[in-house]
Amino acid sequence: MVAPEAHGNRIAQAWSVLNGVMDPEVPVLSVVDLGVVRGVHEDSGELRIDLTPTYTGCPATAAIQLDVENAIEAAGLGRPTIRIVTSPAWTTDWMSADARRRLQEYGIAPPEQPAPQGRRALFAPAPALACPRCGSMRTRRTSEFGSTACKALYACEACAEPFEHFKCI
C-alpha cells in the first residue's frame, strides 16, 4: 500500500522529469511546453502517461514516446505505460507564454493565439508575422510546409534572413 503523499510525490516527480524531455525537432521546447503530455496517472503501482500526437503523421511521435519512457525509467520511477489519446485534438493554444517566448528566441516565429478556427481559417491571407531576428513586419510566407510537419517557411525582407514559423492549428 502506497501512502497518499508518496503517491502524489511520484506523479509530481514524473512531471518534473517530463519538463526536461525535449522535443527532438524543436529542442528548446519540452514535451510539457508543447502540450503533448495530457496526463500522468498511477495505476496499481505503475505510472501511466497520456500523450497526444501533434500531427497524425508526425514521425517524431514514436521518438517522443521512447524518450519519455527512457527518461521516466532513468529517474527511477519505473517503466511507464504510454497511452496515446487523440481527443481533444492537439492545438497550439496549449503552448504556454513562456514556451512561445523561448521559441521566438530560438529563431522560430511562435503560433498566433488563439488558433484560427474552422472555415474562417480557409483561404485566409497568411498571418502577418514579426521576424524573430530583427522584429520587422516586412515578412512573407515562402511555403506553407517546412522541415517538419509543425512548421512553415517565411522570409524577412528587412534583414533578408529566412525563418520558420510554428504553424498554428
Binding site: Y55, G57, P59, T86, L122, F123, F145
Partner: protein, 251 residues
C-alpha cells in the same frame, strides 16, 4: 448497426487516406521545386498518419488479431475499399494537384461532419484530422487557382486534369447499405449531405481559377466494393513489397 458495417466504413476512409498518401509520396524527390517537394511529402505523411488511426480502429472492430500494418500490407487489391480517385496515377503536377483539391474538399466536409459523430473514437480522429485536411485544402486550392489562372500551358493542363478526374467524384457521395446503416446509427453523415458543402468549395475555387466545371455525366464506381483499376495493383506491388518479401521486418 453491425460491427461489419463499422469495419467496412473505416476501411473506406482509411484505405482512401493510405492509397492517396502513397500516391502523393511518389513525388518525393521529383516535385518541380524544393518547397513543393516538402509540401507534398508533408501531405503524404498526414494522410498516412490518418490511415494508421483509421485502420487501427478498423482492426480493433474486426477483432481478428490484425493491426493497421496487417490491413495495409497484407491485403490484396480486391480487399481495398478506397475511392477510385485516390489510386489514379499522379500524371503531371496539375493532375496531382487537381486530384488533391477534389479530395481535400471532400475530406474537409466529411471530417467536419464526423466531429459530431455519436461514435467517440471516430469523432476524436476526425477532430484531429479536420485541421490537417483544412491545411491541405488551402495548399491545393491555392495551386488550382495559380495553375488555372496562370499561363496558357498551366491552364490547359489544369483543365485537362479536371476533365479526366471529374467522373471519379461521384463516388464520394454514393449511398449504399453500409452508409445507410451508419447514418441511421448517427455514426456517419449521409454521404449525399456532404455534396452541397463540397460543391460550394469546388465552385468558388474553380471560378477563381477561371476553369470550366465539367458537365454532370456518367460517374465511375466500384472502389467501395473492391472493383479497382489496374493502377491499384501496380501501386500495391511497390507499397507492399518489403513486408511481403521480409515478413515481420522491423527497423
Amino acid at each position: 448497426m453491425s460491427g461489419g458495417a463499422r469495419f467496412e466504413y473505416l476501411l473506406r476512409l482509411g484505405d482512401s487516406c493510405l492509397v492517396l498518401g502513397h500516391r502523393v509520396s511518389e513525388w518525393c524527390g521529383h516535385a518541380p521545386e524544393l518547397e513543393e517537394d516538402i509540401a507534398l511529402a508533408n501531405v503524404a505523411l498526414d494522410l498516412t498518419g490518418q490511415a494508421d488511426l483509421l485502420l487501427g480502429e478498423a482492426a480493433r472492430t474486426e477483432g481478428r488479431g490484425r493491426d493497421a500494418d496487417a490491413l495495409a500490407f497484407l491485403r490484396d487489391a480486391w480487399d481495398f475499399r478506397n475511392l477510385l480517385i485516390c489510386e489514379r496515377p499522379n500524371g503531371d503536377f496539375a493532375h496531382t494537384i487537381v486530384r488533391q483539391f477534389l479530395f481535400d474538399a471532400w475530406q474537409v466536409e466529411l471530417y467536419a461532419a464526423l466531429t459530431g459523430s455519436g461514435d467517440s473514437a471516430l469523432a476524436g480522429i476526425a477532430g484531429k484530422a479536420v485541421k490537417e485536411a483544412e491545411y491541405h485544402l488551402r495548399h491545393s486550392g491555392e495551386w488550382v487557382v495559380r495553375l488555372g489562372d496562370g499561363t496558357a500551358e498551366s491552364r490547359t493542363r489544369a483543365q485537362a486534369a479536371l476533365d479526366a478526374l471529374w467522373p471519379y467524384t461521384g463516388e464520394m457521395f454514393e449511398t449504399d447499405e453500409t452508409s445507410a446503416a451508419l447514418a441511421a446509427a448517427h455514426v456517419a453523415p449521409d454521404p449525399e449531405s456532404l455534396r452541397p458543402g463540397w460543391t460550394r468549395i469546388v465552385d468558388s475555387i474553380l471560378g477563381e481559377a477561371t476553369l470550366t466545371k465539367p458537365q454532370a455525366g456518367w460517374m465511375q464506381t466500384g472502389g467501395f466494393n473492391g472493383r479497382h483499376s489496374e493502377a491499384l495493383g501496380h501501386m500495391l506491388a511497390t507499397m507492399q513489397f518489403l513486408p511481403r518479401a521480409y515478413p515481420g521486418a522491423k527497423w
